[in-house]
Subunit: 212 residues, 2 copies
DNA sequence: TTGCCCATTGACCGTGCGGTCAAGAAACCC
DNA sequence: GGGTTTCTTGACCGCACGGTCAATGGGCAA
């Protein structure tokens, strides 16, 4: 019988969770590949067969961790921006929610990063990325239409926001100090506003007619 | 004899480079662990011993790729901002240079990302990250002192800039369209300027005296 | 032509891995 | 208690991996 659609008792559920929890920790600590199934079951203190009772493979386990994490962070964001009519406030609250979740789940974040580096797993993340970017871009376009911020490349700005958020969480998780959430929000909100108010002072003069 | 301090003829150098080049491609394509040494030497069309003539281990090879990449990107940045007196223009040019290099070396970028997820390799990147952030933060603080931008958390802003730059390169490398460099620069420069000019309009009101 | 040394070969090795399975032990239901 | 299903055990398997090494090639200097 496939472990996927197996009926689990509450005891079974707990074992399963225990395995996931331990695996996440180890995967994040030393990496996915260097962590063997034997290590996981030893750590939990069970026989090897237990692992394959709950998961059809090591790969399957990681996949589950990833899709679970994806779901969780999205839910967390959605809950945070619900009922917020101002699109810019939605973006701010989304950033804060992401930082919150990522700070509370640094191991899973590391596993996302790993997953992007391996073809088999990266595929699982592609759609999630697309959706997440499109979400943010939609808020941005709405803010542009409302005249709250200048018009611009919503897609690129969305990518920048995501990059900022994740890098802050990453760097902080790597032990470079606590997150200054307000500073992050200031950076992001300043970014969406753009440099127009003082472009001459801020940026290198741009060619309007590029040489090539 | 250790492969490290071995004298290489020009033919030897070429072989070595050939191996590195092929390995980088494969590592980026399918991941470091799933790529076997056998696969690399087969791909290049040589016997297995050749690999261990030039590298002391597979791990050693990746380490070399990483430190090489680190050196290259830093050089590229430094060359771009040399002789630029305006600290904000240094930041802009640095961002453009990074995007340039990352776009030209997407495989290496992916390997950086992987390296962060595995303890053994992450250590190699820690110092580089620290230096890179401190560099940017220094420009920022100089700009603050000169009154070009409002005072703020230079470290956090530096992290945000790095995150933006790398995410844009990553997402574009993952096949989500071309990079809009000017839009990235606008976002970054707007970010360093901060949202002060319209905070009430832009951000959710902040508690000056937080509840907890 | 002889020697030398960089470069190459590929069969071989030991190990540790992911995964299997026949045999039970618990828990639960009637 | 008997019967059924969930859960657990750990020895075992096949294999592919990273790495070794004795033998050989080949370019070049003298």
């Amino acid at each position: 019988m496939a472990p996927d659609d197996r009926k689990l008792t509450s005891r079974g559920q707990e074992r399963r969770d225990e395995l996931i929890q331990f695996a996440v920790t180890r995967f994040a600590e030393q990496g996915y590949h260097p962590t063997s199934v034997a290590e996981i079951v030893d750590g939990v203190g069970v026989g090897k067969g237990v692992f394959y009772w709950y998961f059809s493979s090591k790969e399957d386990l990681l996949r589950e961790i990833l899709s679970d994490g994806l779901l969780q962070i999205r839910r967390h964001q959605q809950a945070a921006i619900r009922d917020e009519p101002n699109p810019l406030h939605r973006i701010e609250k989304g950033v804060r929610a992401s930082l919150e979740w990522l700070s509370d789940h640094t191991e899973v974040m590391l596993l996302f990063d790993f997953a992007w580096t391996e073809k088999t797993f990266a595929a699982d993340l592609h759609k999630g990325l697309e959706i997440s970017l499109e979400d943010t871009a939609r808020h941005l376009r709405e803010a542009m239409r409302a005249g709250l911020i200048p018009s611009g490349d919503a897609k690129t700005i969305a990518i920048a926001i995501r990059g900022t958020t994740e890098e802050v969480a990453r760097v902080s998780a790597a032990g470079f100090g606590e997150v200054n959430v307000d500073a992050v929000v200031d950076m992001v909100m300043g970014g969406v506003l753009g440099p127009e108010r003082g472009r001459d002072r801020l940026t290198v003069p741009r060619r309007t007619d590029p040489e090539r």
